[in-house]
């Protein structure tokens, strides 16, 4: 019984590992976290969105765009170069729209994540020597 559960758990872990290694996983994760941080500041101010209007909305929008680019890195890894560059560009825009790019931390995560996504590439399956 117990060994069955353990085997199934190990199989799930292995499947996740295969999924993670077949795409720019860390690039996507940093990009998603960066987008969340960018959107977080303006989102707290949602009360005054009603009066202040579009500038606050833009701040949220840019963060959501960066977050979406992170999700694209995960689920459409073949588009990683375009998506990675877009993540970097949207992160730059966030400096002006989203509370200094999520107080700079989101900006750093978004640019590093986007650049990592751009620079990720699959290696020959036969040549894999169990890295990372």
């Amino acid at each position: 019984m117990l060994s069955g559960v353990r085997r199934r758990g190990r199989a799930a872990l292995g499947a996740f590992r295969a999924w993670r290694r077949s795409r720019p996983f860390w690039a996507g994760l940093w990009t998603i976290l960066g987008g969340l941080l960018m959107a977080a500041g303006p989102l707290t101010a949602i009360k005054v969105i009603l009066v202040a209007g579009t500038t606050v909305l833009f701040g949220v929008l840019v963060g959501v765009l960066v977050l979406a680019m992170g999700i694209f890195l995960w689920f459409t890894p073949h588009l990683r170069q375009v998506v990675g560059i877009l993540a970097v560009l949207f992160s730059l825009v966030s400096l002006i729209t989203s509370d200094y790019g999520g107080f700079v931390v989101g900006l750093i995560l978004g640019t590093v994540g986007g650049a990592m996504g751009f620079a990720w590439s699959p290696v020959q399956p036969r040549a894999s020597e169990g890295t990372g």
Partner: protein, 218 residues
């Protein structure tokens, strides 16, 4: 170990290629930072909550808007997620000049502190909106204040307020209806401005002499 996924495609990050993207990106960040520091580029800032603090030595309203007013204050009904109206007092200042602006955010254990407008040239803010219930000030001086002003009659530009239930961006907004009680003034000067806990403010700022560092809260 790897018997389960021998044929799964595996990838890795080419760090030199990442550097080729990051280098121009951070050059652009430095350029934008310089433009913000010199006051050439305006940045949006909107925060609320106990983690954020905003202070300024003085706030002075600048040029009046199309209605020949520099300050509006009125009550709005914000709508909570379940549709319950929540009364709030909003102050709107179309053009404001702030000296010694300080903004800080505390995320345990670090405090990031941003200062600007402390070297002669004040910070200018466009369409500054402040949740008035959250403001502390040492003194406030108004010129030509109309208390009990019908805010619905201002159309140039029109003031907006929420008109439907929902929260955040999904709330519909419309012009303040005729007969809305409020006050408007041609100029306002506030000294010792301090946004207290859970205050909310939003604006587009130009930030001369911008400085960003880890340090004490404002």
């Amino acid at each position: 170990m790897g018997a389960l996924h021998d044929d799964a495609p595996v990838g890795r990050t080419r760090w030199r290629r990442a550097g080729l993207v990051l280098a121009p990106a951070y050059l652009a960040v430095a350029g934008l930072g310089y433009l913000a520091w010199s006051g050439a580029v305006a940045v949006s800032f909107a925060v609320s909550g106990t983690a954020f603090t905003v202070t300024a030595t003085t706030l002075r309203s600048g040029a009046t808007d199309g209605n020949n007013m520099g300050f509006y204050q009125f009550g709005v009904a914000d709508f909570a997620g379940n549709g319950t109206p929540v009364p709030q007092i909003e102050s709107v200042i179309p053009n404001a000049q702030l000296t010694d602006l300080c903004q800080s955010v505390t995320v345990f254990p670090l405090t990031l502190r941003i200062t600007a407008g402390d070297a002669g040239t004040p910070v200018s803010a466009t369409n500054l909106v402040v949740d008035a219930t959250s403001l502390n000030a040492d003194s406030a001086t108004f010129q030509d204040i109309d208390i009990g002003q019908d805010l619905g009659q201002f159309t140039n530009p029109a003031l907006t307020e929420p008109t439907g239930r929902g929260s955040g961006p999904s709330v519909r907004t419309g012009n303040v209806p005729p007969g809305t009680f409020g006050q408007a003034a041609r100029t306002v000067t506030i000294s010792g401005l301090r946004q207290v806990a859970n205050g909310t403010s939003a604006s587009t700022f130009t930030l001369p002499h911008l400085s960003l560092a880890f340090g004490a809260a404002c």
